[in-house]
Subunit: 428 residues, 4 copies
Amino acid sequence: MKISASQIQSHNENLLPRHKQELDMLTNLLSDKGADAEAVVKRLTEFQVAIPSWALGAGGTRFGRFSIGGEPRNLQEKIEDVGLLHAMNRSGGAISLHIPWDIPSDAAATRQQAEELGIRFDAVNSNTFQDQKGHKHSYKFGSLSHTKEEVRKQAVDHNLEVIEYGKMLGSKAITIWLADGSNFPGQQNLRKALERTYDSLRNIYAELPEDWKMLIEYKPFEPNFYSMVIPDWGTSFLLASKLGDRAKTLVDLGHHLPNTNIEQIVATLMTEGKLGGFHFNDSKFADDDLTTGSIKPYQLFLIFCELAEGIGRAGDDDFSKIDWMIDASHNVKDPLEDLLQSVEAIKVAYAKALLVDRAALEAAREENDVVLAQEIIQDAYATDVRPLLRESRFRRGGSIDPIGLYRKLNVRKTLISERGTAGTATGL
Amino acid sequence: MKISASQIQSHNENLLPRHKQELDMLTNLLSDKGADAEAVVKRLTEFQVAIPSWALGAGGTRFGRFSIGGEPRNLQEKIEDVGLLHAMNRSGGAISLHIPWDIPSDAAATRQQAEELGIRFDAVNSNTFQDQKGHKHSYKFGSLSHTKEEVRKQAVDHNLEVIEYGKMLGSKAITIWLADGSNFPGQQNLRKALERTYDSLRNIYAELPEDWKMLIEYKPFEPNFYSMVIPDWGTSFLLASKLGDRAKTLVDLGHHLPNTNIEQIVATLMTEGKLGGFHFNDSKFADDDLTTGSIKPYQLFLIFCELAEGIGRAGDDDFSKIDWMIDASHNVKDPLEDLLQSVEAIKVAYAKALLVDRAALEAAREENDVVLAQEIIQDAYATDVRPLLRESRFRRGGSIDPIGLYRKLNVRKTLISERGTAGTATGL
Amino acid sequence: MKISASQIQSHNENLLPRHKQELDMLTNLLSDKGADAEAVVKRLTEFQVAIPSWALGAGGTRFGRFSIGGEPRNLQEKIEDVGLLHAMNRSGGAISLHIPWDIPSDAAATRQQAEELGIRFDAVNSNTFQDQKGHKHSYKFGSLSHTKEEVRKQAVDHNLEVIEYGKMLGSKAITIWLADGSNFPGQQNLRKALERTYDSLRNIYAELPEDWKMLIEYKPFEPNFYSMVIPDWGTSFLLASKLGDRAKTLVDLGHHLPNTNIEQIVATLMTEGKLGGFHFNDSKFADDDLTTGSIKPYQLFLIFCELAEGIGRAGDDDFSKIDWMIDASHNVKDPLEDLLQSVEAIKVAYAKALLVDRAALEAAREENDVVLAQEIIQDAYATDVRPLLRESRFRRGGSIDPIGLYRKLNVRKTLISERGTAGTATGL
Amino acid sequence: MKISASQIQSHNENLLPRHKQELDMLTNLLSDKGADAEAVVKRLTEFQVAIPSWALGAGGTRFGRFSIGGEPRNLQEKIEDVGLLHAMNRSGGAISLHIPWDIPSDAAATRQQAEELGIRFDAVNSNTFQDQKGHKHSYKFGSLSHTKEEVRKQAVDHNLEVIEYGKMLGSKAITIWLADGSNFPGQQNLRKALERTYDSLRNIYAELPEDWKMLIEYKPFEPNFYSMVIPDWGTSFLLASKLGDRAKTLVDLGHHLPNTNIEQIVATLMTEGKLGGFHFNDSKFADDDLTTGSIKPYQLFLIFCELAEGIGRAGDDDFSKIDWMIDASHNVKDPLEDLLQSVEAIKVAYAKALLVDRAALEAAREENDVVLAQEIIQDAYATDVRPLLRESRFRRGGSIDPIGLYRKLNVRKTLISERGTAGTATGL
């Protein structure tokens, strides 16, 4: 299924007068404060968030999974789905693949399909947390950190293979999420596990193309429940520092202990030139993988405030080198609607962060005027920036109201008729 | 497979001299302090922990599952496995079934099999967190709390059916773990969800046999990640209080927010006569379902201190009315070895709690002698009580060294040869 | 110091044209959606939050305290400070006193002073967590739960004395925050501590005037670090249920374990008719006592959504019976500016909650349209409601821009000149 | 007050026969398993834990403090108190001072007093979290990270002064606990705060004597409640790595977010050669500063398992370079009894860790025999090692039963008669 330009245009028509009115009102309001609505719209228009191939079907928990129907059955249909999103919101112009779930049988055809939809290939993801058919060795007790050299080698080789697939498609980064760890005190020699992991990563890094990045995730627990080999940003940073300039830390918002100040981690990583990218999602308890912005929208805004600070300092160049990806699980929502909401929330946070009066803020900070500093950032946060998002979509030919359009066009129903109800996305 | 008395006896023979020596030493040591080793052994001998039918195979996470092989393929094999455990440690003389995974096709035969192995049927468990084939309505959006009456009715009827199966087997309790809740703010009318749940529970309670208990679990999150309808002991208590005397709260050690003082909850529930039973396991982060005693053995001891206090006050009678069950997931260990370790840890905690000099402790408490109170309970905790556990097993014909025996007899290898490597336990 | 009506009016004059323009724009915007700006303004105008007498000076931690200067030195100056706030924001028309820090030497004069400033006396607070000069018994090891009857009696008598002071001033509630608990496993008989506490509360409740409420706080830790006698809402609810209809639970936003779903607790307490009041503040880690709305504004909104749901159901009457109080500590901000920010954040959350399209929300919930339900509540949350707050202040003669006015008038400087730099508020 | 050798000897006499018997029994038991009791006793005898000068009086919370009486009033009396502890347990042969609370007026005399008591001076501690009389600049908004250069310089100079005092007394390390941070989002430029901190630390490091260490603490919150400049081990490690070889990370057990795997941090720091020292204490919720081993004794054991692994690998040399210090607050216990309990718990954990059969453990780990690995470490943990601790004290002329002796000698009563009840320790 595809959504045509005329379908979008037709749906926009009714909404346009009111949108223009609201945009004008907001533009004037901001202008009175010395803020530039147009500049924000321009940045929003450029901003693209990669959609993970594994998040286009219904997700689940260890207790079960409820299908939604119409889920993509192969890589082609996954790209098709990202195409639907991108047609509507013009912000999902990238897809992040997962090997071996998304091995392209015909890389050229896959590239062409994506190109026609305006989609590029963001970081490729390796998988050493599940056993695949045909594997000689099991990852039950780890992969890159495994006690046995042959298992580590198999895992390294898999990562190298993933890079090869990425090269075929034009990716420029590999994301390594290492599920290795231990479930019980005593199970693992923690030092050796770390040393073995470093050694394995070194072998992968040695084969990393010059224009690629290696993104190293961290996570405190799950699927291991006592220790994870890379549990926190400090360990990811330690490894990335030893590996070299192209190794960076990837921040998944759900991979932190309770109460962690994530925005400070972002600021520290930017200061050290080690912020590689994001996996956006939201969570209340653990790695809940909920819709971005559904639980802690203010935290998301604060993260973007740190990012905006980084732009101000280092220029757009740094900002553009960060990989923006969603990583979520859709257990009770239609995955496509869920992703529309997530992208919207990310752009809302970004727009608000751009509205912060940075000069005034820095002045207040230098004088330790805590009340004023809060007033300044909360003034930006309180602003209803949705007209700017609508405009950024509209200008690129997207929908003023993506979820409204999606429902009006009965997209899910069409997908079910095309793909059936039993179809489950490969992967989680 | 069965383990014979002579196999156990033969394995015990070598260990016996040393065991007797250690037991004598400890008995004397305790006697010098005025403690009665024999009384502790006696209590340990009587103490039985129910094994959950769903924890006899390898568990997994949402990211995958690694089979162990030889896993039971049906109810008969599950009972057989519990029989193996009970033969070795003489403390697993009960099984807790899960419907629909364990529906007995021939209840009489099932009872007879269990009886021959010395096993009784503890609480039966209903399941409204997964859809079953043939279900008319999905539990995707809840069961007992569902917005639609017909879904609630289906869930109520399922619970009534579970009670019927329990009656056939001689169970005296139903455990209701309600996975209902919501993933997003706004999704659910929290008040109505609670009211509907109460209403459904009332319908089940109305059919509860006079000599049965209804055990109501609580859990703060997973599989729902914003709200659970029964998130904490307070809500379970509230519902149980309204329902009546036979409704009680079940404490699963893994179902608490970080840093919760679980032993205080146990004390409060006992004070109010509402402590119904336990699901034992251990955890570091969330509902990790690890081997009991593998992460926080001191907390387990403190819980048993509260239970021992309750015995001292209310007499054995109250204690005997509590349902003791394990609820764990075995992701990287042999499930049977894991269960042997869990039962051992529970009995260690119980034995140590029994050794606390309660008279001295109460005296120190009344005088707020905090240092002395800590010395008293830590004196009991520091004691190496393993000889008492060995003796309690030995006296009942069990093994002095269950894991050693299990390995010497190559039990897992035998089970694999009997059941195959592909066998996966029904259930999680 | 007082702020005169003409000072406020003069400061408002410049701001008025722009305010009116923004208000009109928002009113139209809301009207197009079927929402009634005027109704929200009306509710905001009626809404009053009590200021705690102990939060008018600089707060501190166990590591130290940094004075701000000009802090009130006695009850009269505290009321004066609340008068300043109320003159500016017209929402702080109540003060919550703390005995023995605020014993009125001349109750009639105190009432008159308050009346002239438009301030009434909200719940009075007892203090049994510190020893006072002249006390016969120390609260080092507890008060209402103490092992010794004479200490419990002293604590009960103190609470009765607090009620007497409250009667003199026109209060209608007593807030009991019980700091009792234990620092170490073993220290306390948890059951007896609970039973003694109930017994003491019963003695206080017996003397509670018919038109009063007893508000029972709960807190998981601090100042005790192993157990608190009333650690959670469940225990407060249990005690309040036994005591009677006038005993209610008080929710302090900072008194929860990590990740607690506070809004669900609010919903449950409302369902059971046991929600007595709030202590508003914000926190990231523990009982941080930060400015309300500075850390988790979305959570605050969700709490007010539950409250708004309660209004819709039970009518305004229930809502008006809830005590709204701030309880915060101002370690690095000017306390008065901090309180202005807190009250603003509370009203923002309230206004947004009132804007939720409840009929549409309930319809979406009944159909389990999770995406739509989130869209509906986030549409309200995204709205910039500040014009409504400005209007509600303006109509009652308050300031359109309280912090701006406060700074323009150099209030703190004046207070310092009147009261000196060394002045520290009595209390924390 | 001093405790004489003859007082100790006399108290030991009655206890000796039984102690010898228990020691023999344990020695035999361990010998049967191939473990060497004598070697453990020898290590315990050598092991010394520094007592912090600020933990010899009653501690408190922001809500109040209850004096114990007899608290040391000056540096001389603090050393005297450590002398009492050391005389009894022979494990407290070091004191850690806090400047400006403990400025020695006569360094030579102070050294002589300590020497006579067998006490050396461990790390000195700077204080930039409180304002001192005579300070030109306030630390209200930070010290080493402050926005103003003059404040940072004052804080740097203070640290250099602390080093000077340390040199006079023979210390070989300075501990820097930086309380700097922010209470509110927006307050601080997080990047600049980190950069300024690094710059300040560099200025201190530049003056650090060649044979000294700089120990950098980390802490997630308190006294700041939104961000701390050095919130986690990663940031401390980052700074220490940049500073140089003599800069190390100090692990305070209470300075972690909920559920943190502290032992893994210890292992990682040891792997990287950056583990500088410990502040021992225990906690359930936050930085509770409770008696070490009173809440999570198993975690303490696991930390020592990692340390023991480090010894096995790097030799005793590394182990001896780690600074072992207690940092606790005694709110309801007699501080000296509390410290006796803490040191005992630390040595229990150490002794048990030494008993782990490391060869067998490593073999099990290499084969991923998770059950066996747990059995091995829990076998050591289950052992009642108290006879080994008693022997280690006894051999060095200490008490077999320190708390018993302390109470028998009425030490607190004597201290009160010498120093009065009103005496409060300088400091917290």
